[in-house]
């Protein structure tokens, strides 16, 4: 059984955290939890790269290469040699 090289692209620099609590508020998978001095990265493997934490981190302590985990969109993008599409009017793909 092969081992997955990288599950996701989430990176957290605890030194930059100001403990505002936004990441644990925004994350829909409980990846971050409130800590006493700084946010704690408790379930990194559950990250789906939606980008909510990064978007709402005021100090840039969190980075993630966010995008839509949609195979159809990615295959279509690869065939058309364009970048990955998202959901919606211009590139309707996901439900």
């Amino acid at each position: 059984m092969a081992i997955r090289a990288a599950v996701n692209t989430l990176e957290y620099n605890v030194a930059l955290c100001v403990n505002c609590g936004r990441c644990s508020e925004a994350c829909p998978h409980g990846v971050f939890a409130p800590g006493s001095d700084a946010a704690e990265l408790v379930r990194p493997e559950a990250c789906m790269e939606c980008g909510a934490c990064q978007q709402n981190c005021p100090t840039g302590a969190i980075t993630v290469d966010s995008g839509v985990g949609c195979a159809y969109a990615m295959i279509m993008a690869a065939l058309k040699r364009s970048s990955d599409c998202g959901c919606g009017p211009k590139s309707s793909c996901c439900s």
Binding site: A2, R4, A5, A6, V7, N8, T9, C20, R22, S24, E25, A26, C27, P28, H29, G30, A46, C47, M48, E49, C50, G51, A52, Q55, N56, P58, D65, S66, G67, V68, G69, C70, A71, Y72, A73, M74, I75, A78, D84, G86, C87, G88, P89, S92, C93, C94, S95
Partner: protein, 328 residues
């Protein structure tokens, strides 16, 4: 614009039969991007300047989920223009985003309607919004409410979202409602493929194709958490094999002669299994938990395998067909 945009429309918490019909059509993907609500500010019940303000997308299913969850609550609802796309997908695209939120606050003159400066956003809108940018640009402080609108009464009562309310779920019901739209996507290609197979390879092969597709778009979403392995493709291989097995067995008995039967059965299974698996892989886009890195990994690892299986199955079928023609 201008005066028109600043008007406050009225709404209720009731779902009318017309709303339900609209939801039904939306679930079947009819007029996909036409299920829209006019963007702007809405008054629910009898709101005062102190009433809470909820923000949502201009997709009927999103707007209606919010207003019906707020039965008995007086509030304002600020509808962003997301081009008829739900909160989560619009946030991913950025149309449910900081810019549109700030613009809509301005257009609706929200600052003059309410005395407080607090907005409650759906948590799944967070990938598109930077709360810390909204405040300096609009004066309003963003608060992320629960993931599900149904949890809003409890959230309003305590002022806090519990960890459970913050977690996205994907229960059987959530998965089952996606089946109609999936069916609609595959309907035409399936009918064409099954018809071609019916006249070239027979009824059994045609029904096999239909079964492989239904396994991918109906059985897969239902069985998702119970299928072994983590990758969607391998879950699809397993489900595809289970569905292909009875068809392959019937095909083997059908064939004239042992080797002929085995070859026909093998060809059928080699085509059916990757069809189910590919559809299963495509379901990643409908789930709220697959990451782009994970899906990319699956594509690189399994799509070639699927293509190789299908191609060798088709070649085998052609060989069987040619031999059977030669034999007469």
């Amino acid at each position: 614009m201008g005066a028109n945009s600043a008007e406050i429309r009225r709404t209720t918490s009731k779902r009318t039969p017309a709303d339900r019909w609209d939801h039904f059509l939306a679930r079947w993907g009819v007029n996909r991007l036409g299920h829209r609500v006019e963007p702007g500010l809405y008054a629910l019940g009898a709101p005062t300047p102190d009433s809470p303000v909820f923000v949502t997308a201009n997709y009927t299913l999103s707007f209606d989920a919010l207003r019906s969850a707020l039965d008995g609550v007086s509030a304002y609802i600020l509808v962003l223009d997301t081009e008829g796309v739900n909160v989560w997908c619009a946030a991913g695209k950025g149309t449910f985003g900081t810019d549109e939120l700030v613009r809509r606050i301005d257009l609706s003159a929200l600052g003059r309607v309410v005395s407080h400066r607090r907005l409650i956003l759906p948590q799944l809108g967070a990938p598109g919004v930077s709360a810390h940018e909204v405040q300096p640009r609009s004066g309003f402080r963003v608060e992320y409410g629960p993931v599900r609108a149904a949890d809003l009464p409890a959230y309003l009562a305590t002022g806090k979202a519990t960890p459970e309310m913050r977690q996205v779920t994907f229960w059987l019901r959530d998965r089952a409602v996606l089946i109609p739209v999936e069916l609609r996507h595959v309907f035409l290609p399936t009918v064409v493929a099954a018809s071609v197979l019916y006249f070239t390879a027979g009824a059994l092969a045609a029904w096999g194709a239909v079964a492989a597709v239904l396994a991918g778009v109906v059985a897969f979403p239902i069985l998702l958490p119970w299928l072994p392995t983590r990758d969607f493709s391998t879950k699809g291989f397993i489900l595809g094999a289970l569905v292909a097995l009875p068809f392959a067995r019937a095909m083997a008995r059908h064939g004239a002669g042992l080797w002929f039967g085995i070859a026909s059965a093998g060809a059928l299974a080699l085509v059916m299994i990757p069809v189910t698996s590919f559809l299963a892989l495509n379901f990643t886009g409908s789930t709220p938990f697959t990451s782009r890195t994970g899906v990319r990994w699956e594509i690189y690892r399994y799509v070639q395998v699927m293509a190789a299986m299908a191609l060798s199955g088709i070649m085998l079928a052609v060989i069987v067909l040619v031999i059977s023609l030669i034999r007469g």
